[in-house]
Symmetry: C2
Subunit: 331 residues, 2 copies
């Protein structure tokens, strides 16, 4: 029985969508139980009685808000995030899911749960859509801003293991984000990482910005600074194109009618690019599992994040990462 700790108070919309997500997850799958961490009185009101056998509540009266500094998180021992993370630290739970302050969750998870032996820095990974309607795992998307070649190398190793074990890809194609596909392209850090990765069987070489969405790569490795820019750039372009189409369709009755007839198309595009379909972002390389969900997560996003945590734990990916990282260190 996998046990998942859920920060019930994190997220921009309070406990309601989070508990709704937990309830749907419990309805849809067996084999796991949940510890909801937060204000008992609020949680009890929202949790239907029939689920109480698979849900425990751990009281936490403090909530770290989005405007608080991540650096204070370690001191806020009564906060829902702190207590939820500590359930994984002390092995009461196997995984933690939080839609709360992502900086606080990442530093608490890294410092309290700790890293797998040999792992220098746990990267945050997220799934993005591709042209071929497959998914690509991009990492790091924000946990580690300044990275050296060894960090990127380890990200690639961990990303490959995650894609193999959790995403069930037989031979994941791992790419290194760069400014050209040729071996000679890159900045100083990526060129050094490229050399280290050359002998890795999953490594397919440099991957350009447009290749991220081509479906030709399963894992794309970069540092947390560029990963964040990549993520936000994609959001920006998608939103700009959406707003062009909207504004320009409104200018003529014919186009507007066309847009209405294409509603299904736009809805499927929206679904394809909706983060809620993807769950949350795993912080990979911990002695446990932590899924960082979007602050704006709705019930579906929380449900998918819980399923992601479940698959993560059941996949044995952490043993695989430990093995692969220890081989590196023997070299």
């Amino acid at each position: 029985m996998v046990r998942i700790a859920v920060d019930a108070m994190g997220g921009d919309f309070g406990p309601e969508p989070i508990i709704a997500g937990v309830v749907t997850a419990l309805k849809e799958r067996k084999g796991f139980s949940v510890v909801l961490v937060g204000k008992t009185e609020e949680i009890s009101l929202l949790l239907p009685k029939e689920f109480k056998s698979r849900v425990e509540i751990l009281d936490a009266q403090d909530v770290i808000s989005m405007s608080d500094a991540a650096t204070d998180a370690l001191k806020r021992k009564e906060s829902s995030i702190f207590k939820a993370v500590d359930l994984v630290k002390n092995k009461t739970c196997d995984a933690v899911v939080s839609a709360g302050h992502s900086g606080a969750t990442m530093s608490l998870a890294t410092l309290r749960i700790g890293r797998i032996a040999g792992v220098l820095r746990p990267p945050l990974a997220t799934l993005m859509p591709t042209k071929k309607q497959t998914r690509v795992l991009v990492m790091d998307v924000g946990a580690n801003v300044d990275c050296d070649a060894e960090h990127l190398y380890q990200f690639a190793i961990m990303g490959g293991a995650y894609a193999h074990n959790v995403l069930s890809l037989e031979a994941p194609r791992v790419g290194l984000l760069s400014n050209g596909e040729e071996d000679t392209k890159g900045n100083e850090v990526t060129k050094a990482a490229f050399k280290k990765l050359k002998s890795n069987p999953y490594f397919k070489g440099n991957c350009e910005g447009n290749d991220v969405f081509s479906g030709d790569f399963d894992v794309v490795v970069t540092d947390g600074f560029i990963g964040n820019i990549l993520l936000k750039t994609s959001e920006g372009v998608a939103s700009m194109m959406g707003s062009f189409i909207k504004t320009s369709a409104k200018k003529s009755p014919l186009s507007l009618a066309g847009a209405l007839m294409m509603k299904k198309v736009f809805n499927s595009l929206k679904k394809e690019t909706d983060y809620a379909e993807y769950g949350g972002a795993p912080l990979i390389g911990l002695k446990g599992c932590a899924i960082i969900s979007h602050g704006k997560s709705n019930a579906k996003a929380i449900k998918n994040a819980i399923f992601q945590a479940l698959t993560y734990v059941q996949s044995g990916v952490n043993d695989e990462i430990e093995k692969k990282i220890s081989i590196l260190q023997e070299k």
Copy 2:
């Protein structure tokens, strides 16, 4: 009379679209003349007689192809790019436009024409569309892969001057590409650049990936590695969305009819995001003007690149850059 050197042989489609672009430019505007550099016999055949008074031909029998190494460019003294650049070096021309090997053009322009006093590295700048149907100048998009804080600082100064003088913006809003808008966000290089930029009147702070397309910034500064990734990522997302819409519209007759009715909308979207509308990318900070055009440039792109060169030369932006950079150095 402004004189513009045009590499007639560069570009993926040979001299035809380039000469067609030159001819349209000459038809549409007065006040400039062109030196076409390349194989005289090919150029003569393509150039209508009536334009010969405003066009000179400089023979160059060698062409640097896309597969050649940029490092060899300096040795290829009979190549069209080398000779076109040297027309600016020896002041025969004021500007050079090339759709040929961009690496070769950039290194020839930097080394042969030379940098404005005090300029450490000339960045390549390109215009991108925004939600508000304005343009944003992103730089560096590929000339300098590894940059330090001083480089980024100078890019911001030069970008501000370009936006003011060439794009005629009274008070351009300059942003530093980062992983968050708060002052504290950034990697080590951007945080140091942020401190240097703080007192600059045009500087509006950090700019996230999505903000590039918001229309809230006129200039966005980053290094050439990230700039290239940003550019290619935007292309990738736009192409993925386009292909989703196409594939998914084809699945139902209703959606397909809708798509046909929206043709005007999609065409205007295409136009809004078409590089040909933007001309080429200026390499800023040279003792002269060099416009790097896309290898796939059509006649319209070449025409716009020529107009861009014309505006660049007439704007006096180089004097402005020289003044601003010398003030920095007195500090």
